[in-house]
Structure formats: C-alpha cells, structure tokens
Amino acid sequence: MISTSLIQAAAEDANPLVPNLWETLVVILGFLVLLFVVVKFIAPAFEKAYQDRRNAIEGGLSQAEEAKAEAEAMKAEYEQNLADSRAEASRIREEARAEGAQIVAEHKEKAAAEAARITEQAQQQIAAERQQAAVTLRQDVGTLATQLASRIVGEALEDDARSQRVVDRFLADLDAEQSNRTGAAQ
C-alpha cells in the first residue's frame, strides 16, 4: 500500500506536460531496437513473401501463355499435316484416275489391234478358201461338164487332150463374162 503522503507529494509536481526523462529514454531505445528488428528481419521477410507470390503468379501466367502458344503451334502443325495429307490423297487419286484411263486406253487399243488382226486373218483365210474353192470348183465343173458332155455326145469325147481344151475355153469364157460383170458393177 502506498501512503497518502507519498501520493500527495507526487501530486505536487503532477504536470502532465513534464516528461519523465527515463521514460523518454526507454521509448527512444525501444523504438530504435524495434526499427532495427523491422529493417533487419521483418520488412525483408514480408517483401520477400510478397515478391515470391508475385513471381509465382506471374510465372503461372507466363507458363499458361507458353502452354497456349505450344498448343497453338501444335494445332497449326496438325492442320498443316491434315492439308498435306489431303493434297497427297487427292494427288494419288488423280494419278490413279490417270493410270486407270491409260490402262483402259491401252486395252482398247490392244483390243482394236486384235480385232483387226483377227479380221485380217479371217479375210485371208476366206480368200484362201475361196481360192481353193475356185480351184476345186474349176476341176469339178470341168469333170462334171465333161461327164455331161460325154454323156450327151457319147464316147467320142473320151480323148483327154481334146476335152481339156474344151473345158479351158469354156472356163475362160466364164472368167471373161465374170470380169465383165464386175467391171460393170463398179
């Protein structure tokens, strides 16, 4: 307990504007110590945390930016590839079409050549057969005519040489008549 006399003694010089120098000193010291601590430890820590966060956010943003750019590059590449393969496909199709057309043309040509060959062969054969037929016919007609004539005229015409001449003359007449007819038809 504090005695009244002590308090009243203190009250005599109780001017609130008069400083207690020891208090002043302690406050100045306390402030300086705190300032030192703040400058040395606290402010750097806060600034560092702030800077780190800022970097992290900016880093995240730039990373996203990078990823986006990468994705766009990939997309462009993909589109390029797509266009390339489309062009390639159409080129191949075009080639195939051309090739096909060429093959068809070749085959047509070959077929036409074959047909022509076959036709020619057939005509040659026909001509040969006709020739043969003509020869055969000539002999047969001669023989038949001779037989007929001998039947009609009798035994007199048995002589070969004479009958051959008669037949030749007869056939020559026939040929002339024939060629006259075709000449008139032409």
């Binding site: 308090i7 609130p16 120098l21």
Partner: protein
Amino acid sequence: MHSLALAADDEGGFAPPTISETHLPEIFPWMAEWGSGFGKNMLMVVLAVLAIWWFFSFAIRKQALVPSRLQFVAEGGYAFARNTLGRDILGEKHFKPWVPFLFTVFFFVLFNNLFGAIPFLQMPTFSHAGSAYAIAAIIWVTWIFMGFKLHGGRFLKLMTVPSGVPKWLLPLLIPIEFLSNFLIRPLTHSLRIMAVMLAGHIIVMLAGSGAEFLIAQQEGIGNASLGVLILLGSIPLYFLEIIMMVLQAFVFALLTAIYIQGSIEADAH
C-alpha cells in the same frame, strides 16, 4: 487501488484520481534515486517491442505463397504501412526505403496505445508526455536530417520562405513559418497523441474509481445503482477508446509520412 486508499484515508468525500496517478510507482526500484526507475510504462514499451517482433516474425515465418489466416492478417498490416502510409504519400519513387520506418512508427504507437484497452495493463504508453515527446522527437530529428541531407542549407530556406509571397510580408512570415515548422510541429505531433491517450486513460480511471467509490464506500441503493450505471456507461466508452487508439496511431503515422514527404520533396512545394 490507490483511489481506494486515498478515499478511505480522507474519510468521506470522493477524491478523484489525479494526473500523478497515471505515473505508477516503480516495479523495480533500480535507479529510483535518479528518477523513476523501471516503471510500468517502460515495461510496456519493452512488451510492445517484443509483441510486435514476435507477432510479425511468427506470422511470416513460413512465407507461404498461400497465406494462413495469421499471415494474411500480418501481411494486411504490413501492406497498410507499405501502401497506404508509404506509397500513397511518399510516392512511387521514394517510398521503398521508408517502409520499415513507417511500419515501425505505426505499429509501435498502435501496440502501445492498445495497452490502454487491455485489462491489468490498462494504460496507453503515450499518455505520458515523456513517451510522446520521445517518439515525436525521433520523427522530428529524422525529417530535419533528411531535409538537410537532401537539400543542404537550402532546406532551411525551403521550409521557412513560402514561395509567391510579396517581399514585404517575408519578415513577418519567416519567423512564423520557422516556429510552425520547426518548433510547433513536433509539439503538436506529440501532444496530440499524448492528450488523447491521457484523456481516455483519465476517463477509464475516473469511471473505475468513481463506480468503486459509489458502490463500495457509499451507503444506499441509489448510489450503488448510479455506480452500476457508470460501469455500464464505461463500456461504450471503452470501445470508443479503442477506436481513438487506432485512429491516433494512424494519424500519428500518417503525419510522420507527410512530414518525411515534405522533407524529401521540399523543393516541390
């Protein structure tokens, strides 16, 4: 406690607590023969230093990118000193090196003021003129030092000769400017906070001792209920005091920033 002793000794009439009682006796009687020794006030200064040191170091110890609640609060406090007091007033160009100083001023004053609202401590450090002079003197010395460092002898002229004033007015204005800038400014700076804190402290003391006197030492239900009313009334006052404590810390730090800005850019005015 003291008012109880005082009132009991006087036998009867209410003796209001005096200003002297805001100066509490020494806790440790060292150096008592030269003055006040180590009083409660000084203990609270040390406490404030330790509390600020511990709180901000503890809150930022992880420096997490995604802050915890505590770190968020501490970062808010730091950002307030950095951006509101520093960048907004000193400008983008100069504020960086001053952030720790402004931070220290603001939180040193704030914590010491808030001691007035904490039971048992219940006394704002700056309700004592000695403390208020000390902190104002630090700022006074700082801004004058910065002024002379940046502007040399011209600083005196920049601070005392207002530009664009007729020449014949100067003999009158120069002494006024000198007084107002170099002498009155630190006084108002310190007395403003001291007066507000002391007034709040006296109100708390008066309410406490008055209510105690009415309830415990006077007869009758009327006096006792009046004492209860006083106690109830002191509750909103308590919250008002808290607002004043924060506000005064803000005003004090804001003025600090403005003074320093004035010395850095003395030639811009």
